[in-house]
Symmetry: none
Subunit: 219 residues, 2 copies
DNA sequence: AGTTCCATGTCGCGG
DNA sequence: CCGCGACGTGGAACT
């Protein structure tokens, strides 16, 4: 990601025509090429923007952003106050609706629901390519990486496979099993998981919540 | 404006529950107090945000943003890579020409697109209950009142009907036809218009823009 | 303040 | 790729 603080004026020609007079603003260029121009207020919506995909041509004191639909954003840079670049990497993404996060939380508290004798090592165990939802230890001492999804599709199995690749290179672990857990798992995902010796398991959300509240009542 | 680049995890509790696992992200705090958390891709919309007004409490390694509606955003800062502040000042704001206004303008310049031989009398022709978008004259000399909408619904037909009532009481007009024009017209609006002998017509915005630019090229 | 409608809406899902 | 609906829609105009 690239961040500029600059005095600039902006023109947009596309679905409508718009113009921004000269002022100091923040210009954000993301890794996917999208551009956003922010003022120091007014919620999260930028004053002007161009979504990916688009091409950015940098001339002296002028940026021209064009997209395949023929929309064009022209940024005239009068003075650049600062310019920085940062490597952010891929984002694991938002867990929405609370369902996935809630599910992860519930299961983290009761991993033995998934397998007798299973204990939690860490939630969101970090790897170089992102955090594993749950890292556990089975009763025989082996590690178990658990990937949790609301809807279990092929992509989830692929994700868990990548984590397993990395975890298995870590010499601290004797062995690492993979477990794919979701409210619903598609037949394709089941087949792929089985083929890769990844266990899969469907869980019932209401039942889990019930187990949790029973658990709370007991103690 | 304050810009942080940091490894963080985020929890939002409010209109829904959402969670962001740990990753490197940009955190933007604007002068009005609104907060936005951006990944390095995915258009201009942040992963998570809190609009002004809200209060920001900074603890060690944890920010808690609360708004009067009781929504809460918790940012756990695992590692801050960079933090900068910039004075941007007040923004003069965006000058734009919106779609509906643009549509009216385009059609005003080329009313013959709607009907052969049609000529413009006036844009925003005033009546006691409000201005008619376009008042035109057809090749046979009769008046034509045009109502333009982006999305043509029943309410638009009702509006045009009221204008026609008033225009038809005006003795200066022999006769007044009504024409309802929109990018899309709902089936209900079409039926109502037809029932009241109001012509309706869907127009294509891009095509109109095309006609306009062709027109400009010719002269 | 509540309501309705527009938006360079954005975004995700299904066909 | 495209149509359709939901959105923490946001925002403005109007009642």
């Amino acid at each position: 990601m690239r961040i500029l603080i600059a005095d600039c004026s902006v023109d947009y020609e596309g679905r409508l025509s718009a113009h921004l007079p000269e002022a100091t603003r923040l210009i954000m260029v993301k890794a996917d090429g999208c551009v956003a121009i922010h003022a120091d207020g007014g919620a999260y919506k930028p004053l002007n923007w161009m979504n990916a995909p688009n091409t950015l041509i940098e001339e002296e004191g002028r940026w021209i952003v064009t997209n395949p639909k023929g929309e064009q954003l022209t940024i005239t840079l009068h003075e650049v106050h600062s310019e920085t670049r940062h490597e952010l990497g891929q984002d694991p993404g938002l867990e929405k609706d609370g369902v996935e996060a809630q599910l992860q939380k519930l299961l983290a508290e009761r991993v033995d629901v998934l397998e007798e004798g299973l204990t939690l090592v860490r939630r969101e165990y970090p790897t170089t390519i992102g955090p594993v939802d749950l890292l556990c230890r089975s009763s025989d001492g082996g590690a178990v990486a658990v990937e949790i999804k609301r809807k279990g599709g092929i992509d989830g199995v692929e994700q868990l496979t990548r984590y397993l690749d990395f975890l298995r290179r870590d010499t601290r672990f004797e062995s690492v099993r993979g477990m794919f857990v979701a409210l619903d798992i598609t037949p394709q995902a089941r087949a792929l998981a089985s083929d890769r010796d990844i266990e899969w398991q469907e869980v019932d959300y209401d039942e889990l919540r019930g187990i949790e509240s029973d658990h709370l009542k007991l103690f």
